[in-house]
Amino acid sequence: MALLIKIAWRNIWRNPSRSLTIILAVVVGLFAGIYASSISFGFVDQRFENSIERFISHIQLHNPDFVHDGEGFQLVANPGEKINWLDTSSAVKTFSVRTRVNGIVATAGVTNGAIIVGIDPAQEKATTRFDEWLKEGSYFEGVKRNPILIGSELAEKMHVGINSRIVLTFMDLEGNITSASFKVAGIFKTIDKPFDESNVFVLRSDLVKYLAVPEAVHEIAVLLKDPAQVKAVGDAMKLRWPETSARTWYEISPELQYLQEMTGQMLLVFIFIILLGLGFGILNTMLMSVFERTREIGMLMAIGMNKRRVFGLVLLETIFLSFTGAIGGMVTGVTLVKLSANKGIDFASVAGDSLADYGYGSLVYPSVSTGFVLGITAMVFVIAVLAAIYPALKALGLVPAEAVRKE
């Protein structure tokens, strides 16, 4: 076996220019595939991180009817007990208690529908880092009474700025229409345009005053210390609070999980298609190599090298050729991914703000996982083996007596 490996490796370099051509083709093909995939993964990771850590969190607690109907009176039962449990749970990193009502945002000339979300600023900051979305103004500071944070899209639509007054109109929990004046303390801009257009944030302590129910809690968003514990903690909550809907992120947003799983698989298929094309180049190179060595292969069989070894020799040469290119392509690709992952790639110059329409930021950090690279390695092996079969069969089909006399 060691001898076959030695011969196979040296045979590759008998025609260095031909071998280098195919190796370079594999390097370029794989590098391009890996880098393009890393950008896709970067988008998915960004979407995932933003969705989970900036919006959905790991688990959300609601009144079961609120999940379907979204009515203001559908409150979380016994919120105090839940808050105490979450405070003392070792699995929970942080949580945010929210009050939500559907309402109308109005200025002198413009009205717009909105979801009015009452939050505890410190809790929200810890759970979703919401303060980092602020583009202008401050995070509930600088305005003594009824401060409000409004999305930049909505602010533009309503022609309001910092310190502008806007009126929120909504129904309290007894069914009465209530209005209150709020002052813009800050304007935020997330990567989700629809979110910015439809959500406004006020102090929960201010909102519950107008709802006439001090303990009005519509939603508790929970962030865990270990994301891998989501299912276990979610199940524990469901068991503990059967009267409450405790949904994990993948129950709230199954398309996220689907996106994550499918992206990896689709990109592997993409890489496979690239490798399949390259595989024909490898096959051609090996076929030429076998034809050029007809006499030599005939001699090997004549002196007693059996068919298994001849097949093994061609297979080894193909694998060495493929893997030399593959290693080069993977190293180049992964290195470039790592280099560009630090600063990220800003697609603003290409796509402007349009990515935000779909919930994506313009700054993407390419990433590629070990599992993905291992998947590529396995595919290179499969392609190499497939590419080796035809040339190896051609070699085995040689008649030693005729082959040794070929010119």
Partner: protein
């Protein structure tokens, strides 16, 4: 008892289209230690006979027995293994493995035979010394002259300690000096180690060294003459 015996060996190519009889009812015996030259014009069947004796081709009819074992009916895999362990080949075009050095080419056969590493290296060096290439053991074929390459091929053929060595026009591509050097070596090995040599050749220099000359014409043995030679 002869080490090689052929009985009524016949080979017909393209039987169904235009049959060509390459060998016609050839019956020969070869004893251990013989130095035999098979001569004849081009197309007389020399190479076909050598291929049969080497198990590289199967006869249309007839049999070949080597050391009492009939090889004609052997399956391909078993025949390959038999060749590896019992027959040495020296080809006209040397047919060394270009990416291996001289010592690696000679060791190759023994590695295929799965001999112990310490035995392989020692024997390979001994054989290369015997053929006068002790100072070129790490040279690749591309760095050797035609004569030197053929000597490596001889060493390789002997590495497996074969029952006999088949040489198909081994001097055809060599200059006079190299051809004589090669023949000296092979004659010495034949004389000292009693290795059976069977050459197919046009080369008069080979014929003069042989102790038996078989003439083939149109696939038929026309003469089979033992030649008295002086001992080396």
């Amino acid at each position: 008892m002869p080490i090689i015996s052929t009985q009524g060996l016949t080979k017909i190519y393209n039987e169904r289209i235009v049959p060509v009889t390459a060998l016609n009812n050839v019956s020969l015996d070869f004893d251990a230690g013989e130095f035999t030259a098979i001569i004849g014009p081009s197309g007389s069947g020399k190479t076909t006979l050598l291929n049969m004796l080497g198990g590289l081709d199967k006869p249309t009819s007839g049999s070949i027995t080597i050391n009492g074992l009939e090889i004609t009916g052997m399956k391909e895999n078993r025949l390959m293994d038999y060749r590896l362990r019992n027959i040495g080949f020296v080809f006209q075009s040397y047919n060394l493995i270009p990416v291996l050095t001289a010592i690696e080419n000679v060791s190759f056969i023994m590695l295929l035979q799965k001999q112990p590493r310490n035995v392989i290296e020692k024997r390979a060096i001994e054989l290369l010394e015997q053929v006068g290439l002790a100072d070129r053991i790490h040279s690749r074929p591309g760095e050797l002259s035609g004569g030197q390459q053929q000597r490596v091929a001889v060493a390789r053929a002997l590495a497996s300690k074969p029952n006999y060595v088949l040489a198909d026009e081994p001097t055809a591509n060599l200059d006079t000096k190299s051809a004589f050097t090669l023949l000296d070596i092979m004659e010495k090995l034949n004389h000292e180690e009693k290795i059976t040599l069977i050459f197919s050749t046009h080369d008069q220099r080979v014929i003069e060294r042989a102790r038996r000359v078989i003439t083939l014409v149109d696939g038929t043995v026309t003469t089979d003459i033992p030649v008295e030679k002086q001992q080396v």
